[in-house]
C-alpha cells in the first residue's frame, strides 16, 4: 500500500531523511521507531502528501504522492503529532466538517459518524466543545477524524504522546483494533508501545533506516552486541573492567548498578558487572578464562537477551559499536 523508494527530503540545506526505502503491505501495521528529530514526522508528511520528497518515489495505493496527490489524500487518514482541532467547534460539528472536506457526502457522514463515535467511546461528549475536552479525549477526536472517511491507509504520528497512562492503554487498544481493518504506519518513540501494537518495526535514526524487522526477531538478528551479566569477587571493580576490555571479543564492560543485583551479589562480596561483547565469538569462554587466570572468584556468567528498548538505544546511539 505504501511504497517508498530511495526517498530523501531536505529542508533547505538540512537533510531530514536520507535515501530511505521500505514498503508497507496491505493490512500490515508497521511501527516507525526513532528518537525525536530522526525523520519520522518528515517521512509521514511525505507519505500523506503534505510535503513532497526532495528525491525518490513515494506511492500510496499505487498513486504517486507528487503527481497524484489528491488521489493519495483521498485514501489516507492522518493523525499529525499535535492533534489539530478547532477548539470552538463541538465534537459532532468538527467531525462532520472533517468528513466533508475529505469528500464524504452528508448521508455518508450521518451513517458513519455514530459508528465512529461509538468505536472511540466519545458518546457522552459529542455535543461538547472540543476545547473543553481533556487531552485523552482530544486524542480520540483526532483518531476519529482520521478513520471517519474509511481510509485504506492510516498514518498516525505519535498517537499516545502526552496523554495519561490509563488513556494510553485505552488508546493502544483502540489502535490495535483499527489495525485489523487498516494498513497502518504508526510512529512512536516508546518501544513497548510499538512491540505491543505492531507486527513489524522500522527503526529510523538521523534520517536513515537502521533496522526493519518483526519486534521478536529484531532482538535476535541485531545482536551485534551480546550482553553478558556476571559477578566477580577478589578484585577491584576497575581491575575487572580493564581486564575485560583487554579481551578482543569484548566491546565494553561496566559495573552493574541495578539495586537488586547489587544486593544479591554483595551479600557474598561479589561485584556485578555487565559486559558487552561482539556477536558470535563465544565471548563467555574467554571472559571465564580471564577471570580464572587472574585468580578471581566467579559466581555467575549469563548471556542476556536484549530488550527492544536496549536494541533501540544501541541502534540509535551507538551505531558503530560492532565495527
Amino acid at each position: 500500500m505504501i511504497k517508498i523508494e530511495h526517498m530523501s527530503k531536505s529542508y533547505g540545506p538540512y537533510p531530514a531523511v536520507i535515501d530511505i526505502s521500505f514498503e508497507v503491505l496491505k493490512g500490515e501495521i508497521v511501527g516507525f521507531l526513532g528518537p525525536n528529530g530522526a525523520g519520522k514526522t518528515t517521512t509521514m508528511r511525505v507519505v500523506t502528501g503534505f510535503t513532497p520528497p526532495t528525491e525518490g518515489d513515494v506511492t500510496v495505493g499505487g498513486y504517486d504522492v507528487v503527481s497524484h496527490s489528491l488521489d493519495v489524500r483521498r485514501h489516507i487518514g492522518y493523525l499529525p503529532e499535535t492533534v489539530p482541532l478547532y477548539l470552538d467547534m463541538t465534537v459532532t460539528d468538527y467531525l462532520t466538517y472533517m468528513g466533508e472536506i475529505r469528500g464524504m457526502n452528508s448521508s455518508w457522514v450521518k451513517e458513519r459518524l455514530p459508528k465512529v463515535i461509538e468505536m472511540v467511546r466519545l458518546g457522552e461528549y459529542q455535543n461538547t466543545l472540543v476545547g473543553r475536552l481533556s487531552k485523552g479525549y482530544r486524542q480520540r477526536v483526532g483518531i476519529s477524524q482520521a478513520i471517519l472517511h474509511e481510509p485504506d491507509v492510516l498514518v498516525m504520528d505519535e498517537p499516545t504522546i502526552g496523554i495519561d497512562p490509563i488513556q494510553v492503554v485505552e488508546t493502544r487498544e483502540l489502535i490495535s483494533n483499527l489495525g485489523e481493518e487498516h494498513t497502518m504506519l504508526l510512529s512512536s518513540h516508546i518501544l513497548p508501545e510499538v512491540s505491543a501494537i505492531c507486527k513489524r518495526v522500522l527503526v529510523i535514526n538521523d534520517g536513515r533506516i537502521v533496522a526493519d524487522d518483526k519486534p521478536d526477531d529484531l532482538s535476535e538478528k541485531l545482536q551485534h552486541a551480546e550482553r553478558i551479566e556476571m559477578s566477580v569477587r577478589g578484585a577491584e571493580a576497575s581491575e575487572v573492567i580493564n581486564a575485560m576490555r583487554d579481551i578482543s571479543a569484548v566491546v565494553d564492560a561496566r559495573s552493574d548498578k541495578r539495586a537488586a543485583v547489587m544486593q544479591r551479589a554483595e551479600r557474598e562480596d561479589f561485584s556485578p558487572f555487565i559486559v558487552d561483547a561482539r556477536p558470535n565469538v563465544q565471548a563467555s569462554e574467554s571472559i571465564a578464562k580471564t577471570i580464572i587466570e587472574n585468580g578471581w572468584g566467579l559466581s555467575n556468567l549469563t548471556p542476556l537477551p536484549m530488550t527492544l528498548e536496549e536494541i533501540f538505544l544501541e541502534l540509535t546511539t551507538e551505531e558503530n559499536l560492532g565495527e
Binding site: Y11, R45, T48, G49, F50, T51, P52, L70, D71, R73, R74, I76, Y78, P80, T82, V83, P84, L85, Y86, L87, D88, M89, Y97, M98, E100, I101, R102, G103, Q145
Partner: protein, 253 residues
C-alpha cells in the same frame, strides 16, 4: 465547488459563533453612521450616501484585515492547516472558500447599514443611480481589501502580523497619491492608477474621504467605469492568487 461551500459555510458559522462578527459590525455601523449623519445634517445637504461610503471605505482599510486575520494564520497556529493540506482539497478551494466567508460576512454588515438608505427615502429624495453604483463600488472595494487581508493572514501563524501587514498594504495603496503628487510624468500616472480609493482626508467634508481621481470616486458619483471595475477585480484576483501561491509554497519548505 462543493469543497468551497463546505469551507465557506464553516467559516461563516465561526464568524457568527464568536464575538468577531458582532464587534466588527457594531464598529462599522457606528463609524459609517457618524459619517452619514455628518454628511446629511447640514442645511441644503445633498440626500446621498456619499458620507456613508467615505466612512465605509476608510474603515475597511482596518476592518477587512481584522476580519480576515484569523482565517489562515489560525489554521497554521492550531496545526489544522496540515489537515486541510492532507485532505483531498486544492489550495484554491481553501482560499476561495475562506475569502467567500469573509465577503459574505461583510455583505451582511453592509446590508445592516442599509437603513441609512431608508432614512434618505423617508426624509429626502435621493438620486437612485449614485446609490446603486456606490453600493456596487463598496462591494468591489470590500472584496479587494478582504483579498489583501487574506493574503496577509497566510504569511504567518500570528494573527496580529496578518492585521498589521494587511492594513499596511492597504494604507500604502491609499496614501500612494501623496507620493505621486511629488512626482511627474509617467511615474506619477502609474502610481495614481494604483490608488485604492479611500483618502485619509476623511474628515474633510468636501472630499468626504474619497480620493479624487481614485478608483472609488466615480462609483460614489454614480458612474460605473470599466477601469474601476477592472482595478478592484484585479486587486482581488492577484491577492487571492498570491495567497494560493503562499499555501503551495508552504508544502515545499
Amino acid at each position: 465547488m462543493r469543497f468551497i461551500s463546505v469551507i465557506a459555510i464553516k467559516e461563516i458559522r465561526t464568524y457568527f459563533a464568536s464575538p468577531m462578527a458582532y464587534v466588527v459590525s457594531a464598529a462599522f455601523l457606528a463609524i459609517t453612521g457618524f459619517f452619514f449623519v455628518a454628511s446629511v445634517s447640514d442645511s441644503f445637504a445633498e440626500a446621498s450616501i456619499r458620507g456613508y461610503l467615505a466612512g465605509a471605505v476608510f474603515f475597511m482599510i482596518f476592518m477587512s484585515p481584522a476580519l480576515t486575520m484569523r482565517l489562515i494564520a489560525e489554521e497554521q497556529k492550531l496545526g489544522t492547516l496540515e489537515l486541510l493540506l492532507t485532505s483531498p482539497l486544492r489550495e484554491f478551494e481553501i482560499v476561495i472558500g475562506k475569502f467567500l466567508a469573509a465577503f459574505v460576512t461583510t455583505l451582511i454588515m453592509i446590508g445592516l447599514s442599509l437603513y441609512f438608505v431608508l432614512v434618505l427615502f423617508v426624509y429626502g429624495d435621493p438620486d437612485i443611480g449614485p446609490l446603486l453604483s456606490g453600493l456596487l463600488g463598496l462591494s468591489m472595494y470590500a472584496a479587494a481589501t478582504l483579498a489583501v487581508g487574506l493574503f496577509a493572514s497566510s504569511l504567518s501563524s500570528n494573527q496580529i502580523v496578518g492585521l498589521v501587514v494587511g492594513s499596511g498594504i492597504l494604507t500604502a495603496l491609499t496614501i500612494i497619491d501623496f507620493v505621486s503628487e511629488r512626482l511627474s510624468g509617467v511615474a506619477s500616472e502609474v502610481l495614481d492608477a494604483f490608488q485604492l480609493g479611500a483618502s485619509f482626508s476623511v474628515f474633510d467634508l468636501d472630499s468626504f474621504g474619497v480620493a479624487e481621481g481614485g478608483h472609488f470616486a466615480d462609483f460614489a458619483r454614480g458612474i460605473i467605469s470599466l477601469t474601476d471595475i477592472a482595478y478592484y477585480s484585479s486587486i482581488t484576483a492577484v491577492f487571492l492568487l498570491l495567497t494560493v501561491l503562499v499555501l503551495e509554497a508552504r508544502r515545499w519548505r
